[in-house]
């Protein structure tokens, strides 16, 4: 990995983020320990992050490299050495931070199944997709004409409109 050190500060600028190597499997333990230490000792660490897609690393948002180093000093399962060249701007983390929105891949006419909430297990047809709010409005296949609006995370597409049309195309 080739993270570039980017020092950004002053008003309106971005906080640096540092990547640190950890023992495999200890990422969550390490971030919790750092958080406790930073809180107790009032070290200006703003946030910590681990993702399952990048094992053996954690990310740390801190006011300065000194704060980052102080927060991991003498902790087990985390290397304090790699900090120096591993600050990265928040924007490069976007792909880790924002899980692919569930709304992508949903479109009008799709048949969905509700997978959470009070309508769990119910099948419905999408009549409107609101990508900006990540919501879909659906009509239940059975029982009731009243459209309901759901968070896209609560639904799973089970059939596409084009697939239905395909049935008649051969």
């Amino acid at each position: 990995m080739d993270f570039k050190l980017i020092i950004l500060n002053a008003r309106g600028a971005k906080m640096p983020i540092y990547a640190l190597k950890t023992t495999l499997g200890q990422e969550k333990t390490v971030v919790r320990l750092i958080a406790q230490k930073a809180k107790t000792l009032k070290i200006p660490v703003l946030s910590l992050l681990t993702t399952d897609s990048l094992k053996g690393y954690i990310f740390l948002e801190a006011e300065s490299q000194e704060s980052a180093e102080e927060s991991v000093q003498n902790l087990r399962h985390v290397s304090s050495r790699v900090i120096q060249s591993t600050a990265i701007p928040v924007s490069e983390l976007d792909s880790y931070l924002i899980p692919k929105p569930a709304i992508e891949g949903l479109s009008d006419g799709d048949i969905i199944e509700v997978i959470a909430g009070p309508f769990k297990g119910v099948k419905a047809k999408i009549i409107r997709v609101d990508a900006s709010r990540e919501e879909v409005t659906v009509a239940l296949l059975e029982g009731g004409d009243i459209p309901i609006t759901l968070n896209a995370d609560y639904v799973k597409a089970i059939a596409r409109e084009e697939e239905e049309e395909d049935i008649f195309s051969f």
Binding site: A35, L48, L49, E61, D94, I98, P99, D153
Partner: protein, 64 residues
């Protein structure tokens, strides 16, 4: 490590014996989550701002 679960609505992470999310008050908690974000200083954290989080705490990156 204590067993935890995450709120499907706002991703706040709580201990397993909790039944209501203290952040958004929903009861939709899941043990199946991945990634972990700890927000210590929501006012100044850019990650907190990106995630639209205003409360310090632990958050799951993804909740199933």
């Amino acid at each position: 490590m204590a067993k935890t679960k995450a709120c499907r609505n706002c991703h706040f992470v709580v201990l397993n014996n909790v039944s209501q999310c203290p952040a958004c008050k929903m009861h939709d908690l899941s043990e199946d989550f991945s990634g972990l974000i700890i927000i210590l200083d929501p006012e100044n954290s850019e990650i907190a701002q990106k995630l639209n989080v205003s409360r310090a705490g632990q958050y799951a990156l993804k909740v199933r």
